[in-house]
Symmetry: C2
Subunit: 359 residues, 2 copies
């Protein structure tokens, strides 16, 4: 079942990234070549810049999923499908930044900020803001359409395409539902731990891990047993990944994470960590948390008070334990999984990186 | 080549609308049935409500295109593809309303307004506004994804799907480019008549008329000659349709059009009418137009001054002549077109309705 050399090459993360980047570059170059409208190369250039900052996690998992169930030959279409997932992710992040009114992404101005800045002449500040947002919504729409085209022109056999399409549809709907659940939860703090985990399940576990593995595996013709094993690995791992994110947002080293430790607290972001703390807090702690969480002017001192309560009520500790449990579950799911040995190795490395990371 | 009875039935607009509505209803019912998440039926309900107000112009043209080149049997997949175009249009309008910050659509609150109103508790007015916009962007994304699913599950033969996919991709990109051109042109008045016509070409002529005809025709296996004839009919007709819209926006009877005659003028909308007027205006007329167009407080008296200049510089007259010319071109393109007699009749009726309408 294993195919040592070829598969080892394929599972080398840098090699996968390069192949996916090539597929993306080829696609966008072809778009520019066929453009009948001078604005198109400008827009495709924005998409190209945006894509250049990505970590390619989903493509990596897609190719690993394919290899895990015996995919070895004819990797070209797999890389193009993996590229389609990355283009879809570009769409999701561009729209997400509009919804979050974020100013930066990956250390650079967000797309709506870039578009606004490049069209600032002849317009009032309000109009510039509005132009940036509107054009970013459109650019996201274009990326979504292109993600679709990448899938159609990937060169899959009809049976492969028929296996992949329902999974891609589910992945899209799940992400959008996750985003909606997330939006819906804003505007008030919750102590509903299960609700916060549900958002993680849709936005991270299914969208980022399970479906990319499934899509890759479907190309190699995986059966229900393999699909179930991917799910058993992906769902706990995705939750653990997001729980680690919660902790890094509050306790991470800004020099390593590149993110302020105050943003999540100032935004009053509903996380499993805050929900656990609110659930375990006594009356006075609850009042303090509700006063400080979501305060846009929260300073390091106030954040210290919040962190103190998180620790006093054992919320931080509980999240660490939840991460451990989930990492064990994910690794355990690989024990009897019908996957190639190389892929099991790669999936174990991914599970450790995703949960033990410090950035 | 003609198939009298079956095709006459098929070309009856009400029958087409009913069949397309059934396809949309079936699709959304199936979505609700398969939902694992309680928010999904809420979101699909919003899409369902939104769709209920549409005129089904694109589906009508899609089915007509199919019949025009000899499509007779197995109309089911054609109606489902036509439904996919309507779902795509729902996406486009939902995002368009976000970008235009519109409060009403088809006499009802826009989607972002509805979403905002239904989530007003526990939030500040700014947050409510933001929630509505964000959720509407997401709902549009969902409609775009569903439009794709409708296409994939339409039941087309592989060869039909292969013929349709590139056309649908082009249609989407053209619409998005048209929207971008439109956005790009805001923020200043233009006397560039050709630029305004270019927006009409992308947003209306190609998106609303040419591509729906092409998509339908591709299902019936149309060759290049038929495709070229559809283009020759669609492009002038689309421009004429939009030029009529310009005139109705300024001169229409609000009781018949359902729209204020001041909105376009107050918004300073760049139309071929305004571009022609600015190009022909003398210095004083130019200054007056630039002072009044885009004034959000413009009243009927100011609008009267604008209309007076439009007439003095013959801009209104020129637009009427451009409509006539284009209607003649569109009708002329049908003379030697390789289409069924029934379809030619239907396309002639559509051309007259689209250009001579008063609402």
């Amino acid at each position: 079942m294993t195919a040592p050399l070829a598969s080892l090459d394929v599972l080398e993360p840098e090699a996968i990234r390069r192949s996916v980047d090539d597929a993306l570059a080829d696609f966008l170059t072809e778009k520019d070549r066929a453009a009948t409208q001078p604005h198109l190369p400008y827009l495709s250039g924005l998409v190209r810049d945006f894509l250049s900052g990505g970590k390619r996690i989903r493509p990596l998992l897609c190719v690993t999923g394919w290899q895990a169930v015996g995919g070895v030959e004819n990797a070209g279409p797999v890389f193009r499908v993996a590229a389609c997932l990355e283009m879809f992710h570009a769409f999701a992040l561009i729209h997400d930044d509009v919804m979050d009114l974020s100013d930066t992404r990956r250390g650079r101005p967000t797309v709506h900020r870039t578009l606004a800045a490049q069209h600032a002449s002849c317009r009032s500040p309000d109009e510039v803001e509005w132009f940036g947002m509107s054009a970013a919504v459109l650019l996201g729409d274009l990326a979504l359409t292109w993600s679709d085209e990448l899938l159609h022109w990937a060169g899959l056999e009809p049976a492969q395409l028929a296996a992949v399409l329902p999974l891609v549809s589910q992945m899209r709907t799940e992400l959008m539902l996750g985003q909606y659940l997330d939006l819906h939860a804003t505007g008030g703090l919750t102590d509903d731990v299960e609700a916060t985990l549900n958002v993680y399940r849709y936005k991270t576990a299914k969208y980022t891990i399970e479906r990319p593995l499934h899509v890759g595996a479907a190309i190699a013709g995986a059966g229900p047993e393999a699909m179930a094993a991917f799910t058993a690995y992906a769902l706990p791992l995705g939750e653990a990944f997001q729980l680690r994110d919660d902790l890094l947002g509050v306790y991470g080293d800004p020099l390593v994470t590149g993110k302020s430790r105050l943003d999540d607290l100032r935004a009053g972001k509903n996380t499993t960590l805050t929900a656990l703390a609110l659930r375990a807090a006594d009356k006075r702690q609850d009042a303090t948390l509700r006063r400080l969480l979501g305060d846009p002017l929260l300073d390091e001192e106030g954040a210290g008070v919040v962190r103190g309560i998180f620790e006093a009520v054992h919320a931080r500790e509980t999240v660490e334990r939840m991460i451990d449990d989930r990492q064990q579950q994910a690794l355990g799911a690989l024990d009897d999984a019908p996957f190639t040995a190389d892929a099991v190795g790669a999936l174990k490395r991914i599970a450790r990186m995703a949960t033990a990371r410090n950035s």
